[in-house]
Symmetry: none
Subunit: 190 residues, 4 copies
Amino acid sequence: MRRLILDTAMKLFIEEGYDAVSMRKIASRIEYSPASIYTYFADKQDIFFELHNEGFTKLFRKQTDVQGILDPVQRLLSHGRAYLEFAFENPQYYDIMFIVRHPGERIIKDNTWECGMRSYDLLKRNVSECKNAGYFTNEEVDAVAFILWSTVHGIASLHIRQRLAIMELNKDYFTNLIENTLKLIRNLIR
Amino acid sequence: MRRLILDTAMKLFIEEGYDAVSMRKIASRIEYSPASIYTYFADKQDIFFELHNEGFTKLFRKQTDVQGILDPVQRLLSHGRAYLEFAFENPQYYDIMFIVRHPGERIIKDNTWECGMRSYDLLKRNVSECKNAGYFTNEEVDAVAFILWSTVHGIASLHIRQRLAIMELNKDYFTNLIENTLKLIRNLIR
Amino acid sequence: MRRLILDTAMKLFIEEGYDAVSMRKIASRIEYSPASIYTYFADKQDIFFELHNEGFTKLFRKQTDVQGILDPVQRLLSHGRAYLEFAFENPQYYDIMFIVRHPGERIIKDNTWECGMRSYDLLKRNVSECKNAGYFTNEEVDAVAFILWSTVHGIASLHIRQRLAIMELNKDYFTNLIENTLKLIRNLIR
Amino acid sequence: MRRLILDTAMKLFIEEGYDAVSMRKIASRIEYSPASIYTYFADKQDIFFELHNEGFTKLFRKQTDVQGILDPVQRLLSHGRAYLEFAFENPQYYDIMFIVRHPGERIIKDNTWECGMRSYDLLKRNVSECKNAGYFTNEEVDAVAFILWSTVHGIASLHIRQRLAIMELNKDYFTNLIENTLKLIRNLIR
DNA sequence: CATGAATGAGAATTCATTCAT
DNA sequence: TATGAATGAATTCTCATTCAT
């Protein structure tokens, strides 16, 4: 039932945007009264909090799936691919996790924070191992990790908030956006 | 007076986020009646449209200031610096221009679209001239331009939407975030 | 409670006209918050829709009450009397049904349309049977039905929208307006 | 200039209905400021008052045009034709004159009242002369005048407030609505 | 566990009108 | 004669939330 509410909130979020996610509308979708939702969630923020959490758990899982790869550069690239795939496949989750401005501060807490940190630590470890293997010789691990994250986040967020309409040319390139991006990054790594 | 309204809208936008920018609140801030605002702007979207426009004009101006630099790589880096400086100095404008989800479609029009395009064309030209000078030899101009934009946008938007709290370590690095980022990018260019 | 809202809407309609019927005013009359009304009705049109419906149901019922009369001319006259009585006793309903300009088109639908049609069919049947009995020999049923409807509607609507002030003379006549009208119509029928 | 304002008010009234006639909209149509209108008219009611007046003057003129006809029955019928033609050709005027609910009482005054009376007196005179010629032998002049007025008003107001959609059959009849109505009335007169 | 009823607060907008200039 | 500026009062409607049942 919590599930049902969460899924519906997500569905509304996808279909009609942030503003459409009102308690009222969630309730009417699942054919319950608005008051009923309060049996399962303290308030609206609580629902977002939960979704936020779920998102980070999903992303983390996706990223650990890839840690088995032996070659550190390949592993780093796959880590990036996993991140972008997550963002493109779950734009709503991604939006809540990395773009939406959170009203209260409650959200950056508990499990979430931990998940986010663990994801980021994974990235840093992967960069670090690339360095051990002779790449990024003159750079700090933190700096490289940060810029890589920024790059993939940039792509994801421009896409999700629809700022890529400008890019009219080279449809081919954007068809395989993720792979082409990774290839380019691969070329830049030395 | 239009100015006053625009500035107040901006102020509210910064302080309390998009949702807080209501005609009501703008009016009460400047101690006018809500109806008075309609003397100067047709509707709420109109205010955002104007701010949006202003932002693109400002950004474009900042970017052209830098086109005099002769060395193409230095020029490209300065172009990036200008972009990031704009974003860090005018987070509100940047937010409206590149992050906020626009309700109607009216905004992506007229002068704005043109300004955005001209900015992006400048970037592509700079990349292209780097290529002529022997850099990015194996890459497409469009691809490089896109990834560079993504990177700086990633940094700007993570910062503006407050996702950099995670980055606790290396305060030094983030103190000169922009310069360090550009140095790193410089290192990656070949 | 729906009842209370409907009655209050009606009362305002009578007292101050169509424009006075605002959600706000209804609410303040019954000492509820404006939002409460939306628990019972989807929107303003919905209230009018309901009243409109009720009116047609009432009128139709009044008209069927009279169908038992055997003599076709008497029946036709009684049908007219029922119509006029309805209009004079329920000027508010009549106004909504036959005079007010409806903003949306939603109202002319469903049950309402059917009720209106059934009422009119009754009239046509009554005219038709008068014809069978040797009256209106040279006229079309539709034409006669239409002109009779127009006549009673004319009386009702001039009265309801207060255009009879002009008629100063012959107070006696207007005291028994309905009966005198019917007597006159009776005289004209042959 | 008064003319321009009046015509524009009328145009709005026709095109978009009563609610569309706001001072604001009139002003923006004629490309003057709302405040300017107040130079020519005291307030909104004043505009309506004037239109109302004009309507009655027009109608009265149309009716006197017909008084030359010698045969009293033909003259009466032509009088009715003039009335209906006026209503069908100037539905907006007719609406204001005979249907719209007037907020204040100011309107039924001055010249208007006189015009309305003179029109009605004309009708009564015509009925009276029919009586002298041997028609309506058993009826009171006032009663006949009133019922004739009601009939034509019924037709006009059902048409103007769009209640004739019900009448689906006999398109032919309604094509020449006015003439057919008069023919029918002619038949009923004896 | 579920809900019907209720609401205070607030949203964007529109309107007729006034008044100093 | 014309208007820019301003407004108080109103409009419909939505929302998150509470609470007695």
